[in-house]
Structures are given as C-alpha cells and as structure tokens.
C-alpha cells in the first residue's frame, strides 16, 4: 500500500470538504487570460486543441466505410440523427497509428458534418495564454495544422487548429494533405 488508511480517510475528508465548500464560493474571476483546451492522443502523437473549435465530443459510433474514400476518411457515421464524415486525425496528420478503431469522435464547430476520430482524450485543460507559444519558435515541430505549442505542467503538446483541418479536408481532392489510409 502506498498510502495508509488514515491518509486515505484524510484525503476523502479533504475532497468532501472541497466539494462542499465549492458550493459556497463565489464564481472565480481570473485576471490573467486563459484558454480552454482539450488534450488528445492521435495515433502515437499527443496534441492539444482549443475546446472552442469543438462542437461536441462523441463516442465514436459505427463507421460505414465509403468506396474510393480519400486519404484519412474512415467513412460516414450517424450522430444524433445527422450523418458525419469521419476522418482519422492521426492519418490526416501523417502519424503512425494502430489498426484498432479510434474511440472518440470530435465534431468540428467549423463544419458540424465533419468529425475527427482520435484514440484518446487525455484531459480538459484550462491554461494561461502565456503557456502557449508560437510554433515558429520551434522549427523542428513544423506542421501546417499546428501553429502554436502548449507547454503546461512540464509537458509540451502541439496545438492543433481544427478549423484548418476542416478547411483542408474541404479543399478539392488534389490538395489533400496526406495519403489514403491503408
């Protein structure tokens, strides 16, 4: 056992007190500008993306493959009565991934008929703007969809722009960013 039972009981008591006091505290007003991000895992890469660019997060439903689909397009799926074109984000970013189907589906706010399938959603992050750096400072991480880099709590994640991805997949097929998924 890493922690004794007394410590766990104290921890439980602390959590209960925090939960109880949260109802009594006034709404927090932060002076420094913050952004709400979503830490995700796409293939073998870990990224962050603005939560404001997501319309919703869904459990990846059954995907119906399309014949002669473009690269990164897994198929179409039905979400809340609407059909969505589901792209594999790792494939779009050119990152290696496993054959297993992705678990989560990110519906883009720019075009709610397009969803990006990712392997995992690591966390919801509310970070300060000072923790976000322009990607130009990191030449080795050059990616057309990553314009900024998040450095938060000792770890760095490229900041993806879903709008750029939506624009990329909506462009004609000749301008597709990556090859077709095997």
């Amino acid at each position: 056992m890493k922690e004794p039972l007394d410590s766990l009981a104290q921890r439980l008591l602390t959590m209960r007190q925090q939960f109880d006091t949260s109802f009594a505290l006034p709404l927090a007003v932060t002076e420094a500008p913050t952004q709400k991000l979503l830490a995700i895992q796409a293939g073998e890469g870990r990224f962050a993306l603005p939560l404001a660019e997501c319309a919703s997060i869904q459990v990846c439903p059954k995907i119906v493959e399309l014949p002669a689909a473009p690269a990164g397009l897994l198929g179409i799926a039905g979400v809340r009565g609407r059909l969505l074109a589901v792209y594999r984000l790792a494939a779009l970013l050119g990152i290696g991934h496993q054959a297993a189907p992705p678990r989560w589906l990110l519906v883009a706010r720019a075009d709610e008929q397009i969803g990006f399938a990712v392997e995992n959603i690591d966390a919801y992050l509310q970070v300060f703007s000072a923790e976000i750096f322009p990607i130009s400072l990191r030449a080795e991480l050059q990616n057309p969809f990553c314009t900024e880099l998040l450095v938060h709590q000792g770890s760095a994640r490229p900041l993806l722009g879903l709008a750029a991805l939506v624009a990329a997949v909506n462009r004609p097929a000749t301008a597709s960013p990556s090859a077709k998924e095997p």
């Binding site: 056992m1 890493k2 959590m15 939960f19 949260s22 709404l27 709400k36 979503l38 939560l51 404001a52 997501c54 319309a55 919703s56 997060i57 459990v59 989560w104 959603i121 966390a123 919801y124 509310q126």
Partner: protein
Amino acid sequence: MFRSLTLGQQIAAGVLLPFLLLLLALSPISYSNAVAVSETSRNVAHAQTVILRVSELVSNGKDIEIAQRNYLLTGREEFVSAYRALSEGQDKKFEELRRLTADSLDQQQRLDTMRALVREKQIETLEMIEARRRQGLTQALQVHNEGRGAHTIEELRKLATSMTTAEEEMLQKRSNENAIASRRAILLPILCVPFCVGIMVVAVVFISRNLSRQLGTAVQHMRSSAAELQAAAGQQTKGAKGQAATATEVATTMRELVSTSRQIAESAQRVTGVAADTTAAARTGDHTVQGAQEAVEQVKRQVDRIVAHMLDLGKRTQEIGSILDIINELAEQTNILSINATIEAAGAGESGRRFSVVADEIRKLADRVGGSTKEIRSLIEEVRAAATTTVMVTEDGSKAVDASARQFGEVAASFRRIVDLLGNTAQAAREIELSTKQQTTAVEQASTAITDVAQTARETEASSGQTMETANQLATLSQQLIKLIRSSERA
C-alpha cells in the same frame, strides 16, 4: 571240576559226600525195614483185633444164652428184648469179622460155619421162646432139652478157639519177622558207619592236599597281586596328588569364571534395561514424529487452503479490476459529458457561465474518480503481484511442507525401524542375559563339581595311601601264609 569249587564247597563236598553215600546205602534198607516193621505192626494189630472180635463174639454168645435162660426161667419179655438186641449185635460182629478176615480163606470158612451154627441156635431159641410164651416153662424146657443147643455152643466155642489160635499163630509169625527186621535195622548202621568214616578220612586228606595246593597257588597270586597293588597304589597316589592339584587350579579358575559370568550377566541385565529405555524413548520419538507429521500434514492442508484463498484473491482482484474498468469508463464518460457541457455552456454565452462552473466541477470529480481508479488499479496490481508472489511462495512452502512431510515420514519409518531393531536388540540382550545366567549356573555347578572332584582326589590320595598300607599288609600276610603252607607240606 573239583578245583573249580570254592573252599566251602570243597569242605562241604568232603563232609557231605560220605553222608550221602551212607544215606543212599541205608535208605532202601531202612525203608524196607520200616515198611516191614510197619506191616508187621499192622498185621499184629489186625490179628489182635480179630482175636478181640472173636472173643467178643463168644462173649456175646454167652450173653445171648444168658438172656435166653433168663427168659425161660422168668418169662419176662425184657429178656426177649435183650436177646434180640444181642442177636442183632452179633450179626454186626460177624460182618466185621468177615471184613477183617477177608485175606484168610480158612478164617472165612470158620466164620461161615459159625454163622450157620448161630442161625441154627437162633431158630431153636425162637422156638423155645414161643414155647415158653405159649405153653409155659415146662414145654419150653422140653424143647430145650430136645434141641442141639449145647452141641451147637460147643462147636461155636471150638470154632472160636481155632480162629483165635490161627490168629495167634499168625501173630507169632509176624512178630518173628518184625524182630528180624529190627535186628537188621540195628546192624546196618553199625556196619555202614565205619565205612563212611573211612570215606570221610580219604576225602578230608584229598581235600586237604588239594586245598594246600590251591591255597599255595592263590597265595602266590595274592603275593604278586599285592606287589602289583602296591605299584598301582603308588601310581594312584601320585596321580591323585596331581589330580587334586589340577582340580584345585581348575576350581580357582572356575570361581573366577563364575565371577566373570556374573559380571557379564549384570552387564547384560543393564543392557536389557538400557535397551528397554531406548525402546521406550524411540517409541516416544516415534509418537512425537508422528505428531509432527500430522502437524506438517495440517500445515500442508492449511497451505493448500492459503493457496486456494490466494488464487481466489487473485480472481477477486481481477473482478475488482473489471469493476474498476467500469468505474474508469464511467469517469471517462462523465469527463466527456462535462467537457461537452462546457462546450455547450461556452456556446450559451453569459447565461452558460454558471452551467460551465457546474460542468467544471463535474469534470473535476470525474478527473478525481479517474485518478482514484488509477490508484486503485495500481493498488490492485500490487495486490495481484503480492498475491501471485504469495501463491508462488506458498507453493514453494507447500513443496517444502511436502518434502518435510516426506522427510517426517522417512524419520517416522526410521524411528519404527529403530524401535524394531531396538526390540530385537532388547530380545537379544534378554536372551544373552538368560544364557549368561544359565551359563553362570552351569559354571557354578561345574565349579562345585570340580571342588567335589578336588575333594574326591584328596580322598583318593588318602585312600591310595590306605591301599598302599593294605597292600603291604597283604604282602606280609602272603609271606606268612606261604611259610605256613610250606611247613604244613613238610609236616
């Protein structure tokens, strides 16, 4: 043959032989004389009896005559009765005389004549009695006078006298014969005794010479035997001394052997006691080992139960992991829902701000749940690893317990073998003890026997000395006897 007889037999033969010869010579003669004397005596007695019976017959006839006359004179019937009784007695006397004179024809003829005369007289008497009874005395006297009564009585007297004379002559003749036999019986011993004395003298001389010769030979033998006896007694004395010394040494050795045997018996008895104690201790050890073996078996069963429980614990941890997966899934979904709520709140503008706060709290809770599930999973993994380690260790312990059980079984078997071997040892020790006791008893008996032998050897030594002395005396006696025999021979 005569030499084979003993001295007593020879003397008896020398004395008895003449007597036997005399007896053989005199016996037939004496017997014939005795028979003749006896026969003569019997004949004399017989003749005297016949004379007596004839005399009685005559006397009886007189009595009859008297009874007849009395009746004639008195006429009283009592005389008739007396007459009849006397007549019947006379018949019996005739019969007896006839039996006594059966060997003499002359006497038989005289008796027949006398009988006929008596019959005639009786008839005449009866006629007179009838005449007296019916016609009176006169008529009866007439009958008497007419009869031949007087003549008959005279003839009867003559016949009786002749019978008596004949018997007396016979008696005289036999008396003469008896006298001759008596003289012969007297003369025979007178003639035979000198003859027998002569035979006895000859026999005594013969026996004396024979005895002198035999005694000389025997004395010579006795002398040589006495010498041999002296030598043998000397050797016997020497041997008895050596035997006594040897027996004394053997008796000493036997006493030491008895002492040693007793010590061995005591040692064997102690060994028996030690073996019995060891057997008891080994049995106690066997029981202890059996108890330990049962305890080890109990431990093995407990270890098996622990292994089963640990395997069940591993299975339960897997189930907890599955439940944690569910909880983690729920936390993740809650987190996603809170994120979606945040997204929706952000889209609602200022009105969604409060909703956004609630969504943040929900998300935080979901994060905490996720973190807790991770911790629980870590703990479960640790528990599973510990359970696996415990199972492995317990299985090793179970194997060790199995090995211990087998070793305890081997130890128990060894103890049982030890108990069996100790039992055999105790039995062997008891047999050794018993055998040693028997040996001690036997050695004691042998020691006693050897002591007796030593005592006997000493007594033999003393007896040999006496034998030596006796042999010397015997030699001296034989010398004296030889001198005596030679002097008698010279004489």
